[in-house]
Amino acid sequence: MTDATSGGLSAAAQPKSSLLQPSRLMKKRNAAETRFKAYGIAAIVLSLATLGFMLVTIFSDGVSSFFQAKLSFPVELTARTLDPKGNRDRADMVKITTLGYNKVLAVAFEKELAARGIAIEGQSAKDVVEMISKDAAGSLRATVLANPSLVGSTLDATVLATGRIDGYLKGRVTMQTAERDSNVTPAQLQLADKLREAGMLTSSFNWGFLTMPDASDQRPEAAGLGVAILGSAYMMLLVLVTCVPVGVAASIYLEEFAPKNFWTDAIEVNISNLAAVPSIVFGILGLAIFINFAGMPNSSTLVGALVLSLMTLPTIIIATRSAIKAVPPSIRDAALGIGASKMQSVFHHVLPLAMPGILTGTILGLASALGETAPLLLIGMVAFVDNYPAAPMEGFLDPATALPVQVYGWAQRADPAFIERSSGAIIVLLVFLVAMNVLAILLRRRFERRW
């Protein structure tokens, strides 16, 4: 009673307010509400914009690495230089080094320029010839040695131009930068323009980027991802065959058989901790145990795959366990009820039903292993490798490199042409990752089952 009167009095003392007319306090509160919501939207927009910006810069830097400037001109393979004994015997011709082929290329290039009437203004012949990549002689030599009968004939050769000329076609090198650059002169770039008009210098799709091995610092135009793609493929294969069976077996045990005891608890705690250990620590483990203790070869795909397997194991175990957990107990009860053993109920019923989930988790685990770099640096995969690893079994012990490591390796080089290559390698890596993720999503959509 007293409460009601006192309430009434104080209400009367307050200034009049209406629900339809927001008070100043209410306006403030509503403004705070709007601001708060705006912060949320801003956070999302900011993070997505950063993601977009990053991908756009990398793609715009990298797409050009899929195109490459090439010079095409007829090369007369003079027998006098390339096969001085004149017997077309491969064993004798091997003695001619790339120096000899360089001479042949230089002569042919100058001859073609003269034939087309392209004037070389104010440049030495050496400058002109230097527009051809240092890689050209090597590849010409390989062609000739593969087929000695070519000697004496005239070959319509298409060879790489140097990285600077390539950069000029792509807009990375300009007249201004050329003046300050010791590797290219503005006169060379002017000549490049003329060659382009004459159709001798063209830019075409660069298959070599996907197939060729890495190249030295001076030849960015010849560097390719062949060894890295092969190395990554080997490692993924090995991770698949070592990690998946172990991971699935471990999950089955922990989910279906493990009694609640100290050992099981230790395993559980271990797995969740391993998932949080920095990846570089796995690299240290690989270096100390697999290379120094077990004496496995440095930078081999086998060691890389073992390290990545240990790293991926927790991911696969966690995914598999949740897939097994999602199979309802009624399935197990039904199997046990008609006389199956525990093992049979698991292997004949639970596991097939959990398979799509396991597969999805496996693909995602592999995708994260494919992008991992740090542990591979420690086991020596960043070394310069320009030989393809051999076919599987022995090839697993050969030194190789991996896609993300190649990205890092090229990013460390001085020549800006390698940054383009590095971004290009990321595009290749992201294409693989997107493909794997799409596959995982499709699998989930196709086989997902609601119980």
């Binding site: 509400e33 993070s47 493990a258 395993i267 920095p278 570089i280 093992m343 992008g371 770099t373 990205v407």
Partner: protein
Amino acid sequence: MTVLFLLIVVAVLAGAAFVLCRQRVMASVQGDPKLLHSLPMYYGWNGTIMVLLPALGGLVLWLLIQPMVIEGRIAAALPPDMMAAGGSMDLVMSDVRRVAGGLDVAVSTGAMTAQQAATISTESANIRDTLAAVGVALGADVSPAVLSAAQDYRVMTAWGMMGRTILTVLLALGGLIYAVMITNRDFRARNRVEAAVKGLLIAASSIAVLTTVGIVYSMLTETLNFFAQYPFQGFFFSLTWSPNFRGDSELGILPLIWGTLYITLISMLVSVPIGLYAAIYLAEYASKSVRAWVKPLIEVIAGIPTVVFGLFALVTVGPMLRDYFAEPLGWGDSGSSVMTAGLVIGILNIPFISSLSDDIINSVPQSLRDGSLGLGATRSETIRQVVLPAALPGIVGACLMAASRAIGETMIVVMGAGAAAKLSLNPFEAMTTMTVKIVGQLTGDTDFAAPETLVAFALGMTLFVITLALNIVALLIVRKYREQYD
């Protein structure tokens, strides 16, 4: 017999065991499987397991023990002055192995007969030239002691190979015979097979523990090696990091810890507000369709390899910060800086914080929100005063996990933070972290006896302990929080 061939032999025997055991048990019931204890297949599998288990176990043991035994005996036979005169045991042993390998090659290419290889001596021939002719390069001339050791090594290896083959085949055959003998209609084959499978499952699940043991063991031994050569106080309390190969390196961890923590701090300043606001918006405001699109898009960030972020830091963020902030403000002219690495790690951690916080916010009971809204609070007031306090322990846990990821992050700091170990407050200066130095000290030509290399293991151990501690604390906080509502 090579190991591969041996494995094929064992596999063939295992296949034979399957067929034999199955046939025998079927014969014992005149082809009526209803009279058997288990399905016929189980009898076959039992046979296979009985062949594989002892044979492969024996083979693996032999492969592990043989090199130790042989090297022990060779080492005992070598004259003791060799150790004193020429370096360590390992070097001499690797010489012996290389010469023995060279002799093997020489025999297999036909440059030497087996007889010659066993009896050749340094007086009668120049071993180095002979081996160079077949493509085996030796560093120095072969001393008589090493040559005779190498010859002994070859003999023992040959014996070892023979012993290995005999042992493995005998074990496989023994297993086969035993399996066939015990196979009869009342034999409980299924139980036996299932026990073996269960053993396999237990072994697989123990690999996780073995990995942890391996990590701790490998880092601990090398760390102890390091502290045997370098004082404990110098590592933990020195303010300078300047390794060199003159022998007076200063390897203080403090500048590295400072760099690591500074970068982590900046990354948290980026990722926590953005991640948290994103999570709040997605959990409390976003419509279902917005959520269905935006949440996976943000998680795309988490799927991008860190080396991509590293390149982004190196090529885009670093120069941008330098040109628009550091140089105009006169704070430095370095492209790689604490700020660069911190910002990019912050971006990397956004999806991590946002999806963890999203889950936690969603698990706050709806009744709390309804109560607050019913009292007249606006949505943002509800979130700030009711939902977030209730979710706080979980969010703190998520932040700690994100911090541990930032501390252990490698590629972004290697490419974006620089390599100079400095104690400075300027965020636009290049500094370095523990992970950068681990990579730096362990790549390239490394000498595993020098403290400059071994320090990487001590750094790794420190990193491991810090991240583990952070994760355990985070886990405890999250667990405690869960108990309140479940």
